[in-house]
């Protein structure tokens, strides 16, 4: 396929895929469905009706939804080449990094691969970590050493240096997350002219969301100092630039941080009282922004990545809905979790 044919193919593919993204009305419809209707609609009846233990059932559902996301990714990768392709693959590595963090915890708790496998995502070979080999390592440093030859080189090296200095899992997790986002920023900068602006905007939005959540969590849940919190952020967001972040980390209460946010972000998170609520609002807003990019961005790679981000958020919501129904949680509570009151009114 030549370049323009590839771009047209990719845009068409994304448009077709985008029809399955959840609109606000669709979420309200899903909220009213029974567990049987939900599982029938999303082809999960086999898993729901299986006689799996609750923990295995959760994992099987999560895995099935992730599998559908990975299938979409593999289709979208076909017409892509160069750094756009690399960036999309890099984005999906977050699932492998989730596995890495799980493996690290298992190593700390001395669990075997059999015991840990129910917690791990099954991922395509292109991003999969060598789980067996990693668990054979005698300690965490050796595990990170093993990843220093390959696509996780930069993340593993930074994580190892931090672990050598601080020797505790929180800093290790933070270092892994931070390195991952720094990689995203790096790849968005090295893209082709047509994709660069769109991808920078998209990754800027993702970084803003993540920075705000990290800031709230590190400062007010873990009580880190302003300097350390700032160092753990990635100051390359779209609206939360260096100066704004430095101003925000110096504030000493959750509400004062919200008040000092740029107007657009402030509107999204106003009224929230903790990082969890803020995260819900930010995810909804991000989904809407992604849908806007899918429709209007001139860059096919941006549209593809925007679709994947929006789809990932949707699948997480669907998973939460299924879990809520399975556990027999109060429907009001599930409603609130998936569609906070402020957003319900807007819908």
């Amino acid at each position: 396929m030549n370049s323009s044919a590839s771009q047209t193919y990719l845009k068409t593919r994304v448009n077709i895929f985008a029809t399955q993204l959840f609109t606000d009305d669709r979420i309200l419809e899903l909220l009213d469905m029974s567990l049987e209707e939900l599982s029938g609609t999303f082809g999960l009846t086999g898993i729901i009706e299986s006689s799996l233990a609750p923990q295995q059932l959760n994992h099987a559902l999560e895995q099935s939804l992730l599998h559908s996301l990975m299938s979409d990714l593999s289709v979208l990768l076909r017409p892509l080449d160069g750094t756009s392709r690399v960036l999309l693959i890099y984005w999906s590595r977050k699932f492998a990094l989730f596995n890495l963090k799980t493996l690290i915890r298992c190593k700390l708790n001395e669990l075997s691969l059999e015991e840990v496998s129910s917690y791990l995502h099954h991922l395509p070979d292109i991003i999969r970590l060598p789980h067996e080999k990693l668990l054979q390592a005698e300690n965490i440093l050796e595990m990170l050493h093993l990843l220093e030859h390959g696509p996780y080189q930069s993340i593993a090296r930074q994580a190892r240096q931090v672990y050598e200095e601080k020797n505790e899992p929180f800093s290790l997790d933070a270092a892994i997350d931070r390195s991952y986002f720094q990689g995203m920023v790096k790849y968005s900068n090295s893209n082709s002219q047509i994709d660069r602006e769109g991808l920078k905007e998209l990754i800027g939005m993702l970084t803003d969301r993540q920075n705000l959540l990290w800031l709230l969590r590190y400062r007010f849940m873990y009580q880190l100092s302003s300097g350390e919190t700032y160092y753990l952020l990635v100051p390359f967001g779209k609206t939360l630039d260096r100066n704004r972040l430095m101003e925000l980390v110096n504030l000493d209460s959750f509400q004062s941080v919200l008040e000092k946010l740029p107007p657009k972000l402030r509107r999204i998170v106003s009224g929230t009282t903790n990082a969890m609520q803020a995260r819900q609002r930010l995810d909804f807003s991000l989904s809407r922004e992604m849908r806007r990019l899918i429709r209007f961005s001139p860059s096919p790679a941006t549209r593809a990545l925007a679709y994947l981000v929006a789809r990932d958020t949707d699948l997480k919501r669907l998973n939460a809905l299924l879990q809520g129904k399975l556990l027999g949680l109060d429907s009001e509570l599930v409603h609130e979790a998936l569609m906070p009151p402020a957003l319900q009114e807007a819908a």
């Binding site: 931090v162 270092a175 100092s225 300097g227 350390e228 100051p235």
Partner: protein, 625 residues
């Protein structure tokens, strides 16, 4: 040699305690491939040896890591082969764990010493950088009542963010030297109780402090000498560490060889995995074995297992044929050709093994396309001289060289000279049409042989309709022969001939009818698909036959290239003439030699293998020691 060996499905019922020993005996035989299908799941629900496999995996991983640092003897003592119990394996694993712990300490010490040496090197650079300024770095590092100062290095990409982060804690950061990926910085701030916050930020940023000698300003020479002494001391410690590591390596080498032996003996039971099942003390192992080896396996098990066992063997069922592994007789002479066949795929169980046909036809076609006594001799010579590097491919080069020499004699060609020796058969350029005709006849013969092999394969797989009607089946072959016959008649008499027409038309119609019945679609689509596929059969044979014209084309090309070289050489004086002839011959040898090698491989793969060889068989992977 012409087909995969007949196989039997073997089931050995035995006591669970004998499983490691039985696995070892089967591995010694080297002809048993485990079958992991859960056939016996109902009777024997458990898979034994879970702990054994865990110990083996961990021990193997530890051993591999240690083996990268310690030299040891890895030859298996055949006289001392015995089954490894779980307890012994666990002990070996524990010992390897201790050894790896020691080995890691050596490694860590190596890293520490290297880092310290690196730090001194960085410090010397820092001191050189400050040598022209009247600044006492040593005093900067001394404890002060009012100021807190840190001198050190940080990753270059993180400096800006660190500068801003320490700024939030009330400190200032100055960069004074950039080296490779690191930047040297001074961080300075008021001593007001924010040290803990700063330390936390610096640790998170991977800040590496540089220790400046206190006497740097007052006695700079003494400080420099001190640094050099430290450097020498570290280098001595490095040497001592290497000596200690070598002594330690020697002290464990013997035990490590024993561990290697233990792991090799434990490997068969580990590899057998799901092919062994058990219920309490009763177990069974199942797998595939060449039919001719069953009696031998039985005898060896009887000889070495002291407890009773039951050995049953049966032929593969029709359903099992696709999963039966293909055991191809190993022949040292055919090894390089076998490797090239494997590049295409593995024959299915029962299929004709194409290796011998490939070897003969490849060597012949290479000679036909690159016939030259001199060039052949060069290939032969290179093959012999580079035999260590070429390994099993030496024979490939030697046979190709000899074939080239033989055809060189037949064509009367030596280093491109066509008149030095007399052609035993024909000089290609003397009658190109004859050469092309010969190539076509070779191609026709090759394709007919290949089609016959395909028919045999279908019959072997118990697929008579495929053998008769299928692509490259009997009807296709008759159609091909009919068309060739008709074409020959046209060439000889100007008419296709009734006999040829009857054969061609009847087979064409039969093929069309079969494809019509076989296709599942609407009537119109069915006719269209059948017509296209039948037409494709005809064009396929025609194009494949014409492909073989390249056999003659390359023999002519060889002469033409030589003529071009001699024409160029003829334009030079004597020295230039010989230089051009030598360089021209090298050019022909390397470039044309490579092209012919690839073209013959292409003919074999695409005109040959694709007609009869699916290549989707399962390789026979026996347990081995």
């Amino acid at each position: 040699m012409f087909s995969t060996l007949p196989m039997k499905h073997l089931r050995i019922q035995l006591l669970t305690g004998d499983l490691p020993k039985a696995s070892l005996i089967l591995a010694e035989l080297g002809v048993f491939a485990p079958d992991p299908r859960p056939i016996l799941e109902a009777e024997l629900p458990a898979i034994p040896g879970e702990d054994y496999r865990h110990f083996y995996t961990q021990a193997r991983s530890r051993f591999d890591k240690i083996a990268r640092h310690v030299a040891f003897n890895d030859t298996l003592d055949i006289k001392d082969v015995h089954a490894v119990s779980e307890t012994d394996l666990q002990l070996t694993n524990d010992w390897l764990g201790e050894v790896w712990s020691d080995c890691s300490e050596f490694e860590e010490e190596r890293h520490r010493l290297r880092d310290q040496l690196h730090a001194i090197d960085e410090l010397e650079q820092t001191l050189d950088n400050f040598s022209n300024l009247n600044i006492d770095l040593g005093r900067l590092q001394q404890k002060s009542r009012f100021l807190e100062i840190h001198i050190g290095m940080v990753a270059r990409t993180q400096v800006k963010q660190l500068e801003e982060a320490v700024g939030l804690a009330g400190y200032l950061l100055y960069r004074f030297l950039e080296r490779e990926a690191r930047t040297h910085v001074i961080i300075i701030g008021a001593l007001d109780g924010e040290s803990a916050e700063l330390k936390s930020v610096l640790d998170t940023a991977g800040f590496r402090p540089l220790q400046v000698p206190e006497a740097l300003h007052s006695e700079p020479e003494k400080a420099k000498t001190s640094l050099q002494e430290q450097q020498t001391d570290l280098q001595q410690r490095q040497q001592q560490l290497e000596s200690r590591s070598a002594v330690w390596g020697t002290s464990i080498a013997r035990h490590l060889s024993k561990a290697a032996q233990t792991l090799r003996q434990a490997a068969p039971y580990f590899q057998i995995q799901n092919a062994a099942r058990n219920q309490g003390s009763l177990s069974a192992i199942q797998g595939w074995i060449p039919a001719r080896e069953v009696a031998n396996a039985d005898a060896r098990l009887r000889q070495k297992l002291h407890n009773p066992f039951v050995l049953e063997s049966r032929n593969p069922t029709a359903d099992e044929r696709p999963i039966v592994p293909s055991f191809i007789s190993r022949n040292r002479l055919l090894k390089p050709f076998s490797l090239l066949v494997k590049q295409y795929g593995i024959p299915r169980y029962g299929e004709v093994n194409p290796t011998l046909l490939f070897a003969i036809s490849y060597i012949l076609m290479f000679g036909m396309m690159f016939g030259d006594v001199g060039h052949g001799a060069m290939i032969l010579l290179i093959g012999i001289l580079a035999r260590r590097k070429l390994g099993s491919f030496t024979l490939f080069a030697v046979t190709a060289g000899i074939s080239s020499m033989v055809f060189g004699l037949l064509y009367g060609s030596i280093f491109g000279y066509e008149h030095v020796i007399h052609a035993i058969w024909i000089a290609p350029m003397s009658d190109p049409l004859y050469m092309l005709t010969m190539a076509l006849i070779w191609g026709v013969g090759f394709l007919i042989l290949i089609t016959l092999i395909n028919i045999i394969n279908h019959l072997q797989q118990n697929d008579p309709s495929g053998a008769l009607f299928g692509e490259n089946g009997i009807l296709s072959l008759l159609l091909y022969v009919g068309l060739l016959w008709g074409s020959f008649n046209v060439y000889q008499d100007g008419a296709f001939g009734v006999g040829a027409a009857i054969v061609s038309l009847s087979t064409l119609l039969a093929l069309f009818a079969y494809k019509l019945m076989e296709t599942e679609a609407s009537p119109g689509e069915r006719i269209l698909v059948a017509a296209i596929e039948t037409f494709e059969t005809v064009t396929g044979y025609a194009s494949n036959t014409l492909s073989f014209l390249r056999v003659a084309a390359f023999s002519l090309n060889h002469v033409a290239l030589a003529v071009a070289v001699f024409t160029l050489a003829g334009m030079m004086e004597e020295t230039g003439y010989w230089i051009t002839v030598i360089l021209g011959n090298l050019f022909i040898l390397i470039l044309e030699g490579l092209i012919v090698t690839i073209q013959v491989l292409r003919l074999e793969y695409y005109e040959g293998f694709s007609r009869f060889f699916a290549g989707d068989g399962k390789a026979f992977k026996p347990l081995t020691l």
